[in-house]
């Protein structure tokens, strides 16, 4: 199968993730959409790796997974602490600071 198709899929997943970040209100869901964007990047890396016949892209995919895991640790810690003090994980409610 032509690897270019995987690039289209990656772009589609990335767009779904980006749209989700913009329209969803729950911080956890927003964060999951960011993770979807990172996974779309991984797919693109692996597809390009296959097209060019070098392993760089596959190695980067592993690095991305590790970084995403670290981001989950930090992100969930912050979101959970916000939820515990406000009893809500909505990003619209967090509006103490305005112009």
């Amino acid at each position: 199968m032509n690897p270019v198709n995987y690039l289209y899929l990656a772009a589609l997943l990335f767009t779904i993730g980006a749209t989700g970040v913009l329209i969803r209100r729950n911080a956890i869901v927003v964060f999951m959409c960011v993770e979807l964007m990172l996974n779309a990047c991984n797919l693109a890396f692996v597809a390009f790796s296959r097209m060019h016949g070098n392993l760089d892209g596959q190695v980067i995919a592993f690095f991305t997974m590790v970084v995403a895991a670290a981001e989950v640790v930090v992100g969930l810690a912050i979101i959970v602490s916000l939820f515990r003090s406000r009893h809500s994980a909505s990003v619209d409610d967090a509006s103490l600071m305005k112009l």
């Binding site: 970040v21 911080a27 970084v67 003090s85 600071m97």
Partner: protein, 551 residues
């Protein structure tokens, strides 16, 4: 179809042959010493958290951090003295890290800024003692819900979040790698290593904890969003050039690559990959820099984060991110200059104007400084656009000058306090000059430097940047820069007038007497501001000598 089959055989047939000996990578530990020292000290800091009794952790952490930052700075100076900034500049760690003039200059700046920032982190005399324990700007226990019983217990027990010291060191380690990264993977990993500790530190304020947590969530979600875009840009650039290395990508962009494989011929025929990829990577960097239209996070995060963290973040992150942006634009994409320059023109113009105009309406001193930092990002971008050697050196000089002013100004903000902690509303600063002439005068010096008044570092920096921009053919940008400087001067002067020429309020804030730590931080800020303003020649030459990238 046949091309992909041939590619596939690359790793299916390789396994049938005897596996070739894999050579160990060659690592130049000496040239990487500044980064290795800081990472090592951060790991030691974590061990300290685990094993040292709570009472003495603060002192041990302080000692480890100060020694590490000073040693790393000494290593940078030693490398520069041995010619690694000029004649011996080269690529280290198998192509991952560039050791050259801009990298060493910015690493030195970041380390000094971090050292001064560390002093403000460690300040423990501003808040009154709680249950006989001295407290700093950070929450007693970050996991405890604000106002809950567990938080009161933690405060009573005298807990402090000494984890901020290793977090600071990890952030500094990422910042040291960021402007020196010489392939896209290192760039991405450095970006995350510098960002993740900053997200956490934003959430750790002792007072106004809800605002602090809100700032952290906003910074985290927007930061993760921006870095996902940047990663997709990296994927597209990798797809275009078939390599992560800056030098190879630059060769492919310029069409001077020695060997063209069929796959490379197919992808380089597609300019969309290059243009979209470059745009997304630059966008990720502009987010970190805080340039309009990627600036939305700046005011909220600067306002909500603990003030020492804000000062450190405003100064050091900007230095690191501009270093990485310079390297991307000047080393990877010089062949694309005619495409990125018009875009950056637009970004610089809106950044300068929007930062200066919106700052006028602000009533909170931290938000005001946040918008001022956006305007300054625009001024620095004017130097970046020059695309000449003097453009690089002027940006280096501006960053060094700006970072010390910023960290000093935020250190002064920590001093002006009332019962609720820091009094950041501008109305409370009225008459500060009568109540505490010295603090108000010092803050006035920083504001004049932000405004770019002669005899301060702000003037020398702006002059260098605008001169480079004019020589680089961006004269209209200089005109707009001067206009927005004038707009910005209005609100800086307004704060000075407010401090010195209005009656102090009876219930106004008091000025806390700091320990020698914050005093040192502010004194260093004033000294650098005045020295770089009165006698900038030596430092301009230093930046000029450092202004050549290795490729």
């Amino acid at each position: 179809m046949s091309a992909t089959a041939a590619v596939h055989s690359l790793w299916t047939t390789a396994a049938a042959e005897p596996i070739a000996r894999i050579d160990a990578p060659k690592i130049e530990y000496g040239q990487l010493a500044p980064m290795l020292i800081v990472v090592g000290a951060a790991i030691v800091g974590i061990a300290v958290e685990a094993f040292v009794p709570r009472k003495s952790r603060y002192y041990v952490q302080m000692f480890v951090s100060v020694v590490a930052l000073a040693a790393a700075f000494a290593a940078v100076v030693a490398l520069a003295a041995n010619g690694y900034a000029t004649t011996k500049a080269g690529i280290a760690a198998m192509g991952a890290i560039a050791v050259d003039g801009p990298a060493l200059f910015l690493q030195g700046t970041i380390l000094l800024t971090a050292l001064v920032g560390l002093f403000t982190f460690a300040e423990r005399r501003l808040d009154p003692e709680v249950h006989g324990n001295r407290v700093d700007s950070f929450a007693a226990q970050a996991a405890a819900v604000p106002g809950s019983e567990s938080e009161k217990k933690a405060v009573r027990a005298g807990f402090t979040t000494t984890e901020v010291f290793p977090l600071l060191l990890f952030a500094v380690a990422g910042m040291l790698v960021f402007p020196a990264a010489n392939d896209l993977l290192t760039l991405f990993v450095a970006l995350e290593v510098l960002s993740l500790p900053l997200y956490l530190m934003c959430a750790l304020a002792r007072r106004k904890r809800l605002m602090s947590q809100e700032a952290a969530v906003k910074y985290f979600l927007l930061g993760a969003f921006a870095s996902a875009f940047m990663l997709f840009g990296i994927a597209l650039l990798y797809g275009y050039a078939g390599s992560m290395s800056y030098a190879t990508i630059a060769q492919v962009v310029e069409g001077t690559v020695p060997e063209i494989t069929p796959a490379l011929a197919a992808t380089t025929g597609n300019d969309a990959l290059l243009l979209v990829g470059a745009a997304l990577v630059v966008m990720g960097l502009l987010f970190k820099v805080g340039a309009v239209p990627f600036h939305m996070w700046t005011p909220d995060v600067y306002q909500g984060a603990p003030t020492p963290v804000t000062g450190f973040m405003a100064a050091a992150t900007k230095v690191a991110a501009f270093g990485a942006l310079l390297r991307i634009l000047y080393v990877v994409l010089p062949g694309l200059r005619w495409d990125w320059r018009p875009v950056m023109w637009g970004v610089a113009i809106v950044t300068m104007l929007a930062g200066a105009v919106v700052a006028i309406t602000q009533t909170d001193i931290k938000r005001l400084l946040a918008y001022s930092s956006i305007a300054h990002a625009g001024f620095i971008l004017a130097g970046v656009i020059a695309a000449t050697p003097s453009g690089i050196s002027s940006v280096l000089f501006y960053l060094a000058a700006y970072s010390f002013v910023t960290i000093g100004a935020f250190a002064v903000v920590t001093l002006v306090r009332d019962a609720g902690g820091e009094a950041t509303h501008l109305s409370k600063w009225a008459g500060l000059g009568r109540r505490s002439p010295l603090v108000a005068a010092v803050f006035a010096v920083f504001l004049l430097a932000f405004a770019g008044i002669p005899l301060t570092s702000g003037f020398s920096g702006k002059f260098a940047v605008f001169k480079a921009a004019a020589e680089g053919g961006a004269a209209p940008l200089v005109v707009i820069g001067v206009i927005s400087s004038a707009i910005a001067a209005f609100f800086y002067i307004r704060v000075i007038v407010l401090m010195f020429f209005s009656e102090p309020r009876p219930e106004g804030p008091t000025v806390a007497v700091p320990s020698p730590l914050t005093t040192t931080a502010i004194a260093v800020g004033v000294a650098v501001t005045v020295v770089l303003g009165v006698a900038p020649q030596y430092f301009l030459e230093l930046a000029g000598d450092a202004g050549v990238f290795v490729r």
